[in-house]
Symmetry: C2
Subunit: 224 residues, 2 copies
């Protein structure tokens, strides 16, 4: 074979899949491919390395992950950078515009949670749990509570601030907080959404607050 098969990448003047000027069609051209939105989600709390993402997206192949990242980069949703020394490691991060997809992703997830066929026993990544907490917190129930929460999932950890009915999440060191949860993502989800007893996970700090925290995330009623 002497013809170098040009990598597909649909870059530059990509022709849209959908001949439709509407924003939705364009959105699908941007992130409508298999895995694309899940890849973007993994970047929502900050830069990640290739293999971290691969590990957290069960079933994705290196091939596909690489291609999706390249496409998202070509479209201006993701940037490839190098962490500042001494880390000096190569990572992917979402651009500003990419980050703005967060509420959209959140509302998609919230909408889908009404599905009768939703199976909550599947594995789940730590980014997913944290995004879901941020999305699903009920402002009315959370009103008036001020607290700092910490979350540890093996390697990854998050700090969250509950304030004014909202939950602001950041990845990074837990720091000082009122409650610290340590668990696997799926275990935490089981406690928050599945009604599993709080004792099934490791909780440190204000147990009263922890208990109350778990009640702030009501599931929407199932459709059908």
């Amino acid at each position: 074979m002497q013809l170098k098969k040009v990598t597909k990448l649909r870059q530059g003047k990509e022709k849209p899949w959908y001949d439709d000027a509407c924003g939705l069609a364009h959105a699908l051209d941007l992130v409508g491919e298999r895995w694309a939105l899940l890849v973007l989600r993994e970047l929502m709390f900050g830069p990640r390395r290739f293999s971290e993402m691969k590990a957290d997206l069960p079933g994705i192949s290196a091939n596909v992950l690489a291609q999706r990242l390249a496409e998202l980069e070509a479209r201006g949703l993701v940037r490839k950078t190098r962490l500042p020394p001494p880390a000096s490691v190569q990572v992917y991060e979402a651009t500003q515009w990419g980050l703005e997809a967060a509420p959209v992703i959140g509302s998609l997830g919230k909408w889908a949670a009404r599905s009768p066929q939703h199976d909550p026993t599947l594995p789940i990544s730590h980014v997913s749990v944290m995004m879901s907490l941020q999305t699903m917190v009920d402002p009315a129930l959370a009103q008036g509570i001020n607290a700092r929460l910490g979350f540890r999932f093996g390697e990854a950890s998050y700090a969250a601030i509950l304030h004014g009915g909202r939950l602001d999440v950041e990845r990074g060191e837990v720091g000082s907080c009122d409650v610290l949860f340590t668990a696997k993502p799926a275990e935490l989800a089981a406690v928050i959404y599945g009604g599993a007893p709080l004792e099934t996970i490791d909780v440190k700090g204000d147990m009263e607050l922890a208990k109350r925290f778990t009640t702030l995330f009501p599931l929407p009623p199932k459709a059908e």
Copy 2:
């Protein structure tokens, strides 16, 4: 061939494509296939017939449209019904839950409108234009205006009420209104979003109001 090839349809115990309990992954299992969300969009203002939809989704094949409708139906997002006599014609309509995807679709579209690569010259369906108007109206700019707008796109027509900064859209007879727009969807879009002169389309009624109406839909700033 004696083995009836069972149609694919992934029904009943469909195994999810993504092994991920997060809502987003499930959303993608529900409507992540090519064309699915566009098909659902076409149902957002009421029941449609198969060939109408095929005509308004440029490039879709009967094959794919039929399959997507069947899948959406199996998942509880779409219902196949018959219009009451004397029409007695077979149509598809979104279920309640399906309709609730409207804001999600809207925000996806709004987010994508920031894309530098968005090409607004492509064809556009009447449902798309009306959804985009509903989504993109700026509540601050529209505050204080009360008006009834009519829209005619060949066969289809819509009535919209601008009130309290919101635009409520319904498909159906135009009825009495303050302004009546008659145009092709893309022409209307060109006037509202592309700054084309109002004279390029047919407008009847309060021209002052019509002029003002066209200024209520600012495009978000482009990313990058």
